[in-house]
């Protein structure tokens, strides 16, 4: 177990493409950090740099305080779980688990003990002597995890380990990975493009965009107080509504519709962010500003898709609420996120306002 530190780490590929543009990230001992972002954001490159599978162009990576920039992957005391599992096809499960230990010339009985224990933890004892080919996707996934656990490394690195599983198994394995990591207390770095996976697994969530950290913090903090429109729209499903709006004299209007007043925000164009579940729509057939286009039923809730002042807006509401073609917004101004229209940076938060109010 160890902490991992990334100091202004950069990756420039031959040809000049800069995949990672200076990332600082301290990872606490025993922490579960999830790197999330759209494809091409550099999250996998970053993970592979920690693993030692990619060279580090600039900056420094330390594992347990030791600089590992030039260390071989095998000497970094890490274990990695790959997206396609990368099990050795010609070896039995037992050999797959023990291969790394055998290469380290560990004593035979110690290897046997560790393999048995790992197999027990992951409940794969029943097929230790089978080949990977004879296993189901979920079982292969477990073996891949087992190959990491059996090494008892300082850190686990996960590269989208669940994306080859079907939806149901993915949810189940997600829970198991979380529990396992808690139990073993091993520092983990997990890469995914699935924001739900990221939210549920992370102690610390790191949203990457274009090779830079967009925002890092506890998942709920990022969800509630996204620093940028990118984070706001990336986390949460359905995504946050982002409306072009204008502030004058502290009043925020979308088109001609006033949404909030007395905001501590300078005048000018802004982007107003509104979570689909953070407001309600009330039927108002005469003056409702929201025009309903269509409804998606999700069972316990439904998604209302429509337009507000010519801009698309989605609302998630319980099924008990009545519907109409025209509706008005029932909105707590504190649910509103206000971003700079040009750069997408947060201008003000309901959270900050609440803080100010509680101090007053």
């Amino acid at each position: 177990m160890a902490r991992i530190d990334l100091d202004s780490v950069r990756k420039i590929y031959p040809g000049g493409v800069e995949a990672v543009k200076g990332v600082d990230l301290p990872i606490e001992d025993g922490g579960f950090v999830v790197l999330v972002g759209p494809s091409g954001c550099g999250k996998s490159t970053l993970l592979r740099m920690i693993a030692g599978l990619e060279t580090i162009s600039d900056g420094e990576i330390r594992i347990g305080g030791r600089r590992v920039n030039d260390a071989e992957p095998a000497d970094r005391d890490i274990a990695m779980v790959f997206q396609n599992y990368a099990l050795y096809p010609h070896m039995s499960v037992r050999q797959n688990l023990s291969y790394g230990l055998r290469n380290r010339r560990m004593a035979r009985d110690e290897i046997a003990r560790r393999v048995e224990e790992t197999a027990r933890i992951l409940e794969i004892d029943a097929f230790l002597d089978r080949r990977p080919k004879a296993l189901s996707g979920g079982q292969r996934q477990r073996v891949a995890m087992g190959r990491a656990i059996v090494r008892e490394p300082a850190a686990f690195l996960f590269d989208e380990p669940l994306s080859n599983l079907d939806a149901k198994l993915r949810v189940q394995m997600r829970g198991e990975i979380k529990q396992l990591q808690r139990r073993l207390g091993t520092t983990s770095v997990y890469v995914t493009h699935d924001q739900l996976e990221a939210m549920t697994l992370a102690d610390t969530l790191v949203v990457l965009n274009g090779g830079r950290i967009e925002q890092a913090g506890r998942p709920l903090d990022l969800y509630r107080h996204p620093d940028t429109t990118f984070v706001a729209s990336f986390l949460g499903s359905p995504a946050m509504n982002l409306l072009s709006a204008r502030v004058s004299g502290g009043d925020l209007r979308v088109g001609s519709l006033p949404l909030a007043a007395r905001l501590p925000v300078p005048d000018g164009p802004v982007t107003a962010g509104l979570r689909p579940e953070a407001f309600r729509l009330l039927p108002d057939s005469t003056s409702g500003a929201f025009r309903l286009d269509y409804v998606e039923e999700l069972g316990s809730t439904r998604l209302l898709h429509g337009h507000l002042e010519g801009q698309r807006l989605v609302c998630q509401m319980g099924i008990e609420h009545p519907l109409a073609d025209r509706m008005t917004l029932d909105l707590d101004p504190e649910a509103l996120h206000v971003f700079d229209a040009e750069r997408g940076r947060r201008l003000d938060t309901a959270w900050q306002r609440a803080q100010i109010r509680s101090l007053a």
Binding site: E72, P73, A74, F82, Y85, A86, Y88, H90, Y99, N103
Partner: protein, 282 residues
């Protein structure tokens, strides 16, 4: 495609039987001829059932040979052929898999050039480079040796290319997982690539063994000593006698015996051979 049409099945079987007959009948005739005295073959009407000279002809050919046509005993020639074919097949596989490993997994200057140079040698079969190759072998004093018989035939662009194509299909993650598990390049080669190429190696072995066994021109050039003759040369020597009728029973017995080892190799490796050509274990 699964179809249940009796007429089609019958037709298919008839076609297959005809095909087998066309291939097998001459072989059968050769066998029959080898069991009769030499006069039977020359009489013009060929008997269709085996005669009673089988034991005599075969034991004579195997153990004493025919000194008048300069043919040593067959067991000697077959041993020579076997050693040559095995050296060629194993040597080709060993060299090709190592060069493919180098070309696929290592970054070194002129890697692409090296690959293309190997590839271009496809255009230079033994027959084309036979004079300079003979010169080299002669200067190295390898005439009339097993080394001289096999080494010049060992380099193989085809096998290198085959292994390269196979290695390219091995997922990168497997290489990376092995690296994280502490396997260096040679250990990766031994623990991953070799076992994964098992079926490919078997398929290649069959093809290359037969290639080596059937060599005619090259052994003819580099061997002058009877003790180094190979069986394929022996057939020619027996059939090609001056001032006399060829002893067809002897020739046919040699032909039949020369066929046995390749057939055994094919039968023994059949399962792996088909697997290696059809599927790739991954």
């Amino acid at each position: 495609m699964v179809e249940n049409r009796p007429l089609l099945t019958l037709l298919a079987h008839l076609a297959l039987i005809a095909g087998v007959a066309v291939v097998a009948f001459p072989v059968y005739l050769a066998f029959v001829a080898s069991t009769h005295p030499s006069s039977a073959f020359l009489s013009g009407t060929l008997p269709l059932v085996p005669g009673d000279h089988m034991g005599e002809t075969y034991s004579r050919m195997l153990f004493s040979g025919v000194s008048t046509s300069g043919a040593p005993p067959l067991w000697l020639m077959m041993t020579n052929s076997l050693i040559m074919a095995l050296s060629i097949a194993i040597g080709k596989i060993a060299i090709s898999i190592l060069s493919a490993f180098a070309i696929v997994y290592f970054r070194f200057p002129c890697r692409a050039l090296a690959f293309w140079m190997i590839f271009v040698t496809l255009m230079l079969p033994v027959e084309v480079r036979i004079v300079p190759t003979f010169e080299v072998v002669a200067n190295l004093g390898m005439l009339d040796t097993y080394a001289g018989l096999s080494i010049p035939l060992i380099a193989s662009a085809t096998a290198t290319f085959l292994f390269r194509q196979f290695f390219l299909t091995v997922p990168d993650e497997l290489v990376e997982a092995a690296r994280i598990d502490g396997a260096g390049p040679m250990r990766f080669f031994r623990d991953m690539l070799l076992p994964l190429s098992r079926t490919n190696m078997a398929a290649l072995f069959v093809i290359l063994f037969i290639y080596g066994w059937n060599q005619y021109l090259w052994p003819l050039l580099v061997t002058t000593d009877e003790s180094q003759y190979t069986i394929v040369m022996g057939i020619k020597r027996l059939a090609n006698v001056a001032d006399a009728d060829p002893q067809w029973n002897n020739v046919m017995a040699t032909v039949i015996l020369a066929m046995v080892p390749p057939v055994l190799v094919v039968i023994g490796m059949q399962k792996l051979f088909v697997k290696g050509l059809v599927e790739q274990e991954k």
